[in-house]
């Protein structure tokens, strides 16, 4: 029974004697994480409306932290209650799955967003304007940059506290995305977390032009790709006559059965299936940032406010890969032999493309963007394994990677000069001399990206490649290895820059952050090292969460 089917029954009932309307049956407890976050988001809007400006910042911050923490607790509770393994099932009348992967990913997303909130709330990095602390978001985004309105807004000490509820909306969408169990929910969730992100991208306090440009690009391309996804959904619906994963999977696996000849043209028409599947995949790959759908990544990462970039880079990837996994493992396992080779190709060009183009980057944020593309390739290698190991390895990788990314971008926010963040690589020269600690921390993140042993990056990479190798894609591993060798080159370049080059006179200064960012970075480093030295516990976690419910 699917939600839409219930309505259907309503329609048929209407033909006969009027009966009472059966309400849909929703397991609120099991959806609690999502509901808490979205509820908090709504509440946040209320706050914007009713709470006086001076106390908005703190109330919003408090609200978001509490909400996310509560949601995380709820996830833990569900997992503890066994919804991750034994009691895993499909809730909300087939719309949302509550199972291991879903919970694991939701947990990761929530943690990541929790840390992201810290970086969002940071207001010590920029010099205080007119005696008021300012964060990295525009005082009044609608105002023309440098225009009178904006100056007034700055003078008045406006701050865009809306970012917190917007963030929460995005998180809500991300929580549903990997749990979505029918294509409609998938599409809606996609939009629910994309739209807030488009807005967030446009809110940078400094370099507004870049920020707005990135928002525009992200929005247009995002909408474009979601249109493709939607069309794909339509075709799949046409193929299977339903949009529930289980339903489609059924039709896919045991092909055409008892269909009235009237539908012979469409029903179980493989062309529909294949094209539809491909288009849906494309939509997801776009979010993942896989070549050739990666074009938005560097521009958006560079233009967006760095806290937002960090949040996007970490959380979006987690959510998107979650959804991708579910689609591939639940909807399309029947046609594995069709999409695996294609995905191999995608994975390879993604790994190589990301690594190679990154070599010649000169902006740290763009560099990290390309590295995230390369990493998307590595993760895809695990996705393609189509085995329980594959799933759990991807889950682990996502967890490890998201923390490293958050930490790295948090560090980027610290290195500043007169024009705000000094993202020009050349300006980072000799950072290791001026402030060894920050440089060392960043070096740790870079080494983790490079997959040097004893960092989480290595554990993740090994897990993914192992899964790939066992699924018989040995040469995929070789390519992965080669591209990580290439990738090592530019990570090392940054390290050289920081430690072995003489600092420039007009070089950037490292701002002393408030406890907020410090904690964020600290958590990042700890996670990186712990997951590198003793990953077993988390591997087990991911391992237990490796089964999808159908």
């Amino acid at each position: 029974m699917s939600s839409v089917a219930s309505v259907h029954s309503l329609w048929t009932a209407a033909a006969g004697a009027p009966g009472k309307i059966p309400g849909p049956h929703i397991e609120y407890a099991q959806l609690s994480p999502t509901l808490i976050v979205l509820g908090a988001a709504v509440l946040g809007i209320m706050i914007e409306a009713f709470v006086p400006r001076r106390s908005r910042y703190y109330s919003q911050l408090l609200l978001s932290l509490v909400a996310l923490a509560a949601a995380f607790a709820a996830v833990i509770g569900l997992a503890a209650a066994g919804f991750g393994s034994s009691k895993a099932h499909v809730a909300a009348m087939g719309a949302v799955a509550v199972d291991g992967p879903a919970l694991f990913l939701q947990g990761t997303i929530l943690l990541v967003s929790l840390i992201a909130v810290f970086t969002f709330a940071e207001r010590r990095l920029d010099p205080a304007a007119h005696g008021k602390h300012v964060d990295s978001f525009a005082a009044q985004p609608a105002a023309v940059p440098g225009g009178a309105a904006e100056q007034a807004a700055v003078k008045a000490g406006f701050t865009t506290t809306e970012v917190f509820p917007i963030l929460l909306f995005a998180v809500g969408g991300m929580l549903i995305f990997p749990a979505a169990n029918d294509l409609l929910t998938l599409f809606v969730a996609l939009e629910v977390f994309s739209l807030p992100l488009y807005i967030l991208c446009a809110l940078a306090r400094r370099q507004r032009l870049l920020s707005q440009e990135s928002a525009l690009k992200y929005f247009l391309l995002g909408a474009f790709s979601s249109a493709f996804l939607l069309f794909g959904v339509a075709l799949l619906y046409g193929y299977a006559g339903t949009v529930t994963y289980a339903g489609i999977a059924e039709v896919v696996s045991d092909g055409a059965k008892q269909i009235d000849p009237a539908l012979a043209g469409t029903m179980s028409n493989d062309a529909l299936l294949l094209i539809g599947g491909a288009l849906v995949l494309m939509g997801l790959l776009f979010k993942v940032g896989a070549v050739p759908f990666h074009m938005w990544t560097p521009d958006v990462y560079q233009g967006a406010p760095t806290p937002v970039t960090g949040f996007m880079a970490a959380a979006t990837k987690v959510a998107a890969f979650g959804a991708l996994l579910r689609v591939l493992y639940v909807v399309l396992p029947g046609m594995r032999w069709d999409w695996r080779p294609v995905m191999w190709g995608v994975a390879i060009i993604t790994m190589l493309g990301g690594a190679i183009v990154a070599i010649t980057q000169t902006d740290i944020k763009r560099l990290l963007a390309y590295s995230s593309i390369a990493h998307a390739g590595f993760i895809l290698a695990g996705v393609i394994a189509t085995s329980k190991d594959g799933v759990s390895s991807v889950l682990f990788y996502l967890g490890a990677y998201s923390f490293v990314t958050l930490g790295a971008f948090a560090v980027v926010t610290l290195v500043r000069d007169a024009g705000g963040e000094a993202t020009q690589l050349s300006k980072w020269a000799g950072l290791g001399r001026r402030s060894p600690l920050v440089a060392a921390v960043f070096a740790v993140f870079l080494l983790a990206f490079a997959g040097i042993p004893l960092t989480s990056g290595f554990a993740g990479k090994f897990a993914v490649f192992k899964a790939a190798a066992q699924s018989g894609a040995g040469w995929l591993v070789v390519v992965g290895v080669i591209s990580s060798a290439i990738a090592a080159f530019f990570y090392i370049r940054v390290i050289v820059l920081m430690f072995f080059n003489e600092p420039k006179a007009e070089g950037p200064t490292v701002a002393v952050p408030s406890p907020l960012t410090s904690t964020a970075i600290a958590i990042g480093v700890t996670a990186t090292l712990v997951l590198g030295l003793a990953p077993q516990y988390f591997l087990d976690l991911a391992g237990h969460a490796g089964v999808f419910v159908r």
Binding site: R433, R434, S435, P436, L437, L447, A450, I452, P453, L454, F458, A459, F462, A463, F465, K466, A469, Q470, G474, V477, V478, V481, I482, S484, A485, A488, F489, I492, R493, V496, F499, F500, N501, E502, A534, P535, Q536, L539, D540, G543
Partner: protein, 552 residues
């Protein structure tokens, strides 16, 4: 398992590294002494290991420790040592204190450098050295392929900072140029080795896939794999095995370094300070050759013997090529670097000769080469620090003004050309005999190496130490007490091991026998069986008499 001795041996220097790094900028001298203390502590532990180790005992590994670590990857924290490992651990632990002493002032911040309480190069220098020691030691102890791999790779990072971060201020040109030449060398070192390591990673994963496929659960335990293979449970397909072997060997050949993968070494050794250069060639590179012996051969016996001919030829090329290039060098340290390439050729030759002499010799060679190169390179370092130049042409007649320095330099050089009576001779001759007894032609060509070695060493000595005294060196002070303390023990050791290497051979032989048994190779038997009667040539003349009679 009582006290985890092996872990302790690796952990102590690690702690030392952290402690040293933690010291504030002002406490430079303290840092030095602390580092020295910890290195000596490690040496003491290494000695304990050596004495607790019983060469005659059964079983490949001793003092073993085994704990679960990452069961998902089939990885266990498995330590254990055989004779070879013990010898190399002892070597490492022995050399580090000397390296630290020799580098006593190498990392003192330049005077003109602005006082910066955050920037603590000295602490960093010694901490990094200790970190390298810890990682090297544990990779000698690891009997789990994955565990080994992790530290094999991880040790690149501290090495990289040592090379790139600290140079002798003796570049031909200004500090600025030499600084970026240095960082280039460091980057080359890192990327080259990283690439090798990543190729190996693919092979490691492949190994896991194979074991997981055939043994049910994937494992990296060397002993387990060897036993399974012996019991016939594990049968890696020929092609797979060869591919995996190549993956492993490539990494080790880069590290070792084997021609044509050697080009990172001269740069790295030339640009870094003498102690760091010693660290590279005498300690870190040994991990490569050691790993060939322990992992390549034991994990992939068939593939090893399949690849042997090619490898032998490459080793041969390394020997001659390295020596010839050493002759043509203008830079003292680069000369020593190329000499090392030649020597590594000998080591690899010995390993893949697959005879007990060859492999025993190779192992001894690792130890002896470590000591001799350390002696030569450190003295060279002292020399360079005095004159502020690495160019051979800038020296001349040093022998007259600094006889002790020259003398020690000469002894180091004589060891490098493996003069009988000094340790390297024993190992080199063993390698040659071992190779010759299976591959006569290669053995003979390799013997050319001893002539070329004499050439580059003596040319170096003549150009720097003899002849009329150059004005720049006329005021050169002789070795100081600290420097003598560094060099004298090394020389004494060279002499001792040259005259009485038995302790070492006794340590190594069983391990070598075990390796050969795993590879399933036997020493070729002599064509004539003689009843070895110790004693005078009397018998000989009886025979010769008969010959004479026959002749008539």
């Amino acid at each position: 398992m009582s006290f985890p001795l092996l872990t302790a041996t690796a952990v102590v220097p690690a702690i030392g590294a952290i402690a040293t790094a933690a010291l504030p900028a002002a406490k430079r001298t303290v840092a030095k002494w602390l580092a020295l203390l910890f290195s000596l502590l490690t040496f003491a532990l290494a000695l304990v290991v050596a004495f607790r180790f019983d060469p005659t005992a059964k079983g490949p590994f001793q003092l073993t420790e085994s704990h679960a670590w990452i069961s998902d990857f089939g990885v266990r924290y498995e330590l254990g040592v055989d004779g070879i490992a013990v010898a190399l651990i002892a070597l490492t632990a022995l050399l580090i204190p000397f390296v630290i002493l020799a580098g006593w002032h190498d990392a003192d911040p330049l005077e003109e450098a602005t006082p910066n309480r955050r920037w603590r190069p000295t602490q960093g220098f010694f901490a990094l050295i200790l970190a390298v020691e810890a990682m090297v030691v544990i990779s000698f102890e690891a009997t789990d392929v994955f565990l080994f791999y992790i530290f094999f790779e991880a040790m690149l990072i501290p090495m990289y900072f040592l090379i790139g971060g600290f140079g002798d201020r003796a570049g031909a040109d200004g500090e600025e140029r030499s600084a970026d030449r240095r960082s280039q060398a460091a980057v080359k070192f890192l990327l080259y080795n990283l690439a090798g390591g990543l190729i190996m990673l693919a092979a490691v994963i492949g190994l896991y896939a194979v074991t997981a496929d055939q043994l049910g659960t994937g494992t990296f335990s060397l002993t387990q794999i060897v036993e399974a293979r012996a019991a016939g449970q594990l049968d890696i397909g020929t092609t797979t095995e060869r591919l995996l072997f190549l993956g492993f060997f490539f990494a080790f050949a880069v590290k070792a370094p084997l021609w044509p993968l050697h080009t990172w070494l001269p740069g790295a050794m030339g640009e870094s300070t003498a102690p760091v250069a010693v660290l590279i060639t005498a300690v870190v590179d040994k991990v490569g050759t050691f790993a060939m012996l322990r992992f390549c051969l034991q994990l992939f016996p068939e593939a090893s013997s399949w690849a042997t001919p090619v490898i032998l030829v490459l080793a041969l090329i390394s020997i001659v090529y390295g020596a010839l290039l050493a002759v043509a060098q203008r830079d003292i340290k680069r000369l020593i670097a190329y000499a090392s390439i030649s020597h590594f050729g000998f080591i690899i030759l010995g390993i893949f000769a697959m005879t007990s002499q060859g492999q025993g010799g190779a192992t001894l060679y690792m130890v002896n080469h470590g000591i001799s190169t350390a002696a030569l390179m450190l003295v060279a370092g002292f020399l360079i620090s005095r004159r502020g130049s690495r160019l051979i042409a800038d020296y001349g007649g040093v022998q007259k003004v600094a006889p002790v320095l020259a003398g020690t330099f000469l002894i180091g050089g004589l060891a490098t050309l493996s003069l009988p009576g000094l340790a390297p001779f024993v190992s080199e001759f063993l390698v040659l005999v071992g190779t010759f007894s299976r591959y006569p032609v290669i053995g003979v060509i390799a013997t050319l190496g001893i002539v070329l070695a004499a050439l580059y060493v003596l040319v170096l000595y003549q150009r720097t130490m003899t002849g009329p005294v150059k004005s720049e060196v006329s005021a050169m002070p002789d070795l100081r007490a600290r420097e003598l303390v560094v060099v004298a023990p090394l020389i004494a050791l060279l002499l001792f091991l040259g005259v009485y290497p038995k302790p070492l051979t006794d340590l190594v032989n069983p391990a070598v026998e075990h390796t050969l048994s795993v590879v399933d190779k036997k020493d070729p038997k002599p064509t004539v069986q003689v009843n070895a009667v110790p004693g005078s040539g009397r018998a000989g003349h009886a025979a010769s008499d008969q010959d004479v009679e026959a002749a008539k």
